[in-house]
Symmetry: none
Subunit: 137 residues, 2 copies
DNA sequence: TTGCGTGCAAAGGTTTTGCATGGCA
DNA sequence: TGCCATGCAAAACCTTTGCACGCAA
């Protein structure tokens, strides 16, 4: 990973600028489209999809896929060495569809447990806990 | 959960019959459609999607979503009463597609943790851990 | 008889692709 | 100058929905 794209275009630059202003937030491709449209400097959606894909490959942003029916969301991860990258878990309510983002040390430990006891390297970015949220219980 | 559907239609019956013949295999909605079409007894795709959804709700089959662009796949899980069934977690390898069933007290404790600390009632039947298995690491 | 299940067709929504144009190096 | 990136439109894709008809209980 960390394969830089060949060209440094204006679109790539402003997209990165925007992503840097919302670290830790989860935004969709549609959010990005809307943001630049409302700024008066729209970017083609294919460009946005293609740039986001590149940035994921480079490790600059993370991509979260919740399920097949909701759009994928992206999160700025940082451009330095990301040894300190935060792990984010997701809980999705089966009833109201609400998505909850969790940063929790205890949950992070299950990754280590799965690896040491079950020989399985958990990918938290792809893993979603299904169940019932507080309001729907 | 485990809410039986009200009617026992012919389509539901043959769909279940088919699923029972491929336990442990991962099949897509399109696979099911094609199977019955080739059998000469086609079933409408909306029926298939709706029945599969019901069966997931009832816990008879599991649904696995790899990502947003590939079709979801389903796996027969069994119809025994799940009232006293032990809790079973699933790990799916993103690379080879292998599915691992886990019975583990430590993992079960995360359900309690999610409930007490995050107000979220985990549904283990629907939750899949994605990552890499031992062979693919 | 009641109302759920079915099936066709069409919509829905996200993501990808074709292709001509424009811009970076 | 040589490619790559862009952007528009349209396609591709899986899945869901509307609606009339049929069938289970």
């Amino acid at each position: 990973m960390a394969v830089r794209s060949k060209y440094n275009t204006k679109q790539r630059e402003v997209l990165l600028d925007y992503l840097r202003t919302v670290p830790g937030e989860h935004i969709t491709a549609a959010d990005v489209c809307r943001y630049f449209r409302e700024q008066g400097t729209p970017i083609g959606q294919s460009t946005i999809y293609r740039q986001l894909e590149s940035l994921v490959d480079e490790g600059v942003i993370n991509k979260y896929i919740i399920d097949g029916t909701t759009p994928a969301c992206f999160e700025y991860a940082g451009e330095e060495s990301h040894a300190d990258a935060e792990i984010c878990f997701h809980c999705k309510c089966e009833k109201c569809g609400k998505l909850i983002h969790l940063h929790c040390d205890e949950l992070e430990s299950i990754g280590a447990h799965l690896l040491s006891h079950h020989g399985f390297r958990l990918n938290p970015m792809r893993t979603v806990f299904y169940g019932l949220c507080e309001d729907c219980m």
